[in-house]
């Protein structure tokens, strides 16, 4: 029997339980329980793979495995953090928050398991819907504004993605193979697909799912949503939702490449990637709000992923590894930024300084997270970004490679200036008086994520390398 239903049903059952538990204090502890169980299930699914049936709607192919791993690890760490966070915010009702977090786990797993593009679309849209109330958690005017933008921009993007999905199905129907949205059918008939429909479909899917990923110029919702959402939600959005949307884009890429349209899609992807990186670097310089800075960093890294995909075969390993690195490192950054936010009651560099003194653990982790995400050795993102750069030069795209380096450098300087202001100096008198102190629950999950990022950078665990190699082979069409 397939494991897929387990992944979908048990978080949903936990969500129902969360709705039934009356105590605001005990309810959040369901999250770590669900997170641990999900991680254990993921472990089993990865270690004992089921044979991939081409007719199954729910099956875990090599690409889905990578995304499921990222989502599961990130949620595991976030769930323990969330339990501590919600305890400190006990005045705020957390029923809807817990329910939505658990449904997040369920829908994100569905995205990873889907082998049917229509079902995948339903899951990504579901992901948008369950995350909207999460952004709204603080019920301030700003959070309403952020949720509104997130819903409107996100819904429009997702509607375009549906149109793109339809176009893709029609390209198969036009080729005389009957309209199908099964990934395996589309891959099998790829060379025969009607080209004009396929081109239009790819553009719509890139714009649609790109909106969910937060590629420029469809990124406008991102700084607002990440800035106003609680940090644990920011971590799940920037590491989980974006990875799920990227998986949808990977499917479109896979089908287009199998159809022999490499040149067409790569040009689009390279352009979008560089545009996102350039936009992010522009807004990152002089950024005063630390969470908005992280949002632009997310725009940048989505750009890197799309750019890596656009470089094609030589950079695929680096790109898929970067999905893992970006997801985990964003967890480190958002969760530690959350602790700093709680210690200072502010997220602006005008009030926040001396975080290393005020909250030594969180301040240090935030700083190390910054070093990791900007691609400094010995952390994981260094390896993946280096592999992407290497891919650019190996495929003879010198200009792209050079631009990539320059933009990374600008981001490093821009982000570094803001981060140094936050961690260095002396904390203000007001900040010393707030009640927040680093605890095990608010520190250990971040430390665990950072250790993972470090491990990937230093030794690149063999099982992970094998997993990503499988995915690369799958993308290149050698099952």
């Amino acid at each position: 029997m397939s494991m897929a239903p387990l992944f979908l049903i048990f978080p949903a059952v936990a969500a129902v339980l969360a709705a039934l538990i009356p105590s605001n204090r005990w309810r959040p502890w369901l999250l770590p329980v669900a997170g641990t169980l999900h991680a254990a299930l993921t472990g089993v699914a990865l270690v004992r793979p089921e044979p991939l049936s081409p007719t199954a709607w729910l099956a875990l192919d090599p690409l889905g495995k990578v995304i499921l791993l990222v989502v599961s690890l990130l949620f595991l760490c976030c769930s323990y953090y969330a339990a501590g966070y919600l305890r400190s915010r006990s005045e705020q009702p957390n029923r809807v928050f817990c329910i939505c977090l658990l449904f997040f786990l369920s829908t994100a797993s569905l995205v990873a398991w889907s082998r049917h593009l229509g079902l995948m679309w339903v899951a990504v849209e579901g992901l948008t819907l369950v995350t909207a109330p999460l952004i709204f958690f603080n019920h301030t005017q700003q959070s309403i504004e952020a949720t509104w933008k997130y819903m409107v921009v996100g819904s429009v993007g997702i509607a375009l993605a549906l149109l793109g999905t339809f176009f893709l199905a029609y390209s198969a129907q036009h080729a005389g193979h009957g309209a199908s949205l099964m990934v395996s059918d589309l891959l099998q008939h790829a060379p025969a697909l009607s080209k004009p429909w396929l081109h239009a479909a790819f553009v719509l899917l890139l714009v649609g799912y790109g909106t969910k990923m937060g590629l420029a110029p469809m990124h406008t919702w991102k700084p607002d949503a990440y800035g106003e959402a609680p940090c644990v939600v920011g971590a799940l959005l920037s590491g989980g939702v974006t990875s799920c949307a990227f998986l949808a884009l990977l499917r479109a890429y896979h089908i287009s490449v199998a159809a022999g349209e490499v040149a067409y899609v790569c040009r689009l992807l390279l352009f979008m990637g560089l545009l996102s990186m350039a936009t992010a670097s522009l807004f990152m310089v002089g950024q005063r709000d630390m969470k908005r800075m992280l949002a632009y960093s997310s725009v940048e890294h989505m750009g890197i992923l799309v750019l890596g995909l656009g470089l094609g075969a030589p950079a695929l390993f680096g790109t898929l590894l970067h999905v893992v690195n970006n997801g985990l490192t964003k967890g480190v950054l958002f969760l530690s930024a959350g602790n700093i936010h709680r210690a200072y009651h502010s997220k602006s560099t005008e009030q926040v300084s001396g975080a290393m003194q005020r909250v030594p653990l969180s301040g240090t982790l935030f700083f190390l997270g910054f070093l990791a995400i900007t691609g400094s050795p010995p952390f994981g993102p260094f390896i993946s970004e280096f592999l992407i750069l290497n891919g650019a030069f190996r495929s003879g795209r010198m200009v792209v490679g050079a631009l990539f380096l320059v933009l990374l450098l600008i981001v490093f300087i821009g982000m570094g200036a803001t981060v140094l202001k936050i961690v260095q100096g002396r904390p203000s008198i007001a900040a010393r008086k707030t009640s927040y102190r680093d605890t095990v629950l608010s520190g250990a999950p971040i430390l665990a994520l950072l250790v993972l990022v470090l491990l990937i950078g230093v030794i690149l665990p063999a099982p992970l390398a094998a997993l990503i190699n499988d995915a690369v082979r799958y993308l290149e069409g050698q099952p």
Partner: protein
């Protein structure tokens, strides 16, 4: 395609122009409701598609798009006590002209996409593209939160029209899922609209401008 298909799509195209040209928000809601109910009927007109599942889907679509969502919208409108859209970025007449130009472009562009023989003389593709464009115009140029939601619904209607070419590719579960997602999205948006109104005492999205660089 049946004989009734193209006439219904022409009515859908006219409704697009009506929605673009009116300043009364209740008229916009009514126009979008009629449009939603009309396209909900389309699947039943497809030859060989009359099954219990298809009938159920059509009834659900018509009830949701034609009755439930408009009632929800009208209630939200009554709570916030506004009647008219303020003068949009592009005037009402100008947006009608823009919508008409969009429809012409859609007709020309659809001519470049190859269709299978069975669909060769149908208006599905141009009607779908023109409706999507109308949704975009509403979303971009209007200021009231509720009109923007109607823009999203029109956009969604456009995508739905295209789905008519693929009824056999979309299994019932996926269709149901898409419809459910649409409904929940509108539901969530209504809740946010309500909160916007309570927190800002207005539904003018120009007031939602505290978050920017």
């Amino acid at each position: 395609m049946s004989n009734f298909f193209n006439p219904i799509l022409v009515v859908v195209l006219l409704l697009n122009l009506f929605v673009l040209g009116t300043s009364r928000i209740t008229s916009v809601i009514r126009g979008v409701a009629i449009q939603g109910a009309l396209i909900g009927m389309l699947p039943l007109l497809l030859p060989g598609h009359v099954s219990r599942g298809a009938f159920l889907m059509a009834v659900l679509t018509i009830v949701l798009k034609g009755v439930v969502i408009p009632v929800m919208m009208n209630r939200a409108l009554r709570d916030v006590e506004i009647k008219r859209e303020v003068e949009p970025v592009i005037g009402f007449q100008a947006s009608v002209i823009l919508g008409a130009l969009g429809a012409v472009w859609a007709l020309l562009f659809a001519g470049r996409l190859p269709l299978t023989e069975a669909h060769a003389d149908s208006l599905v593709v141009p009607a779908s593209l023109a409706t999507v464009l109308t949704g975009f115009i509403l979303l971009i140029t209007r200021f009231k939160a509720l009109t923007q939601v109607m823009g999203y619904l029109v956009l969604e209607n456009g995508v739905f029209i295209f789905g008519m070419l693929l009824v056999q590719a979309m299994p019932l579960v996926v269709e149901m899922g898409a419809l459910l997602d649409l409904f929940v999205a509108v539901f969530v948006i209504c809740i946010i609209v309500n909160h916007i109104n309570r927190a800002f005492s207005t539904l003018d999205t120009r007031q939602l401008a505290s978050l920017k660089e």
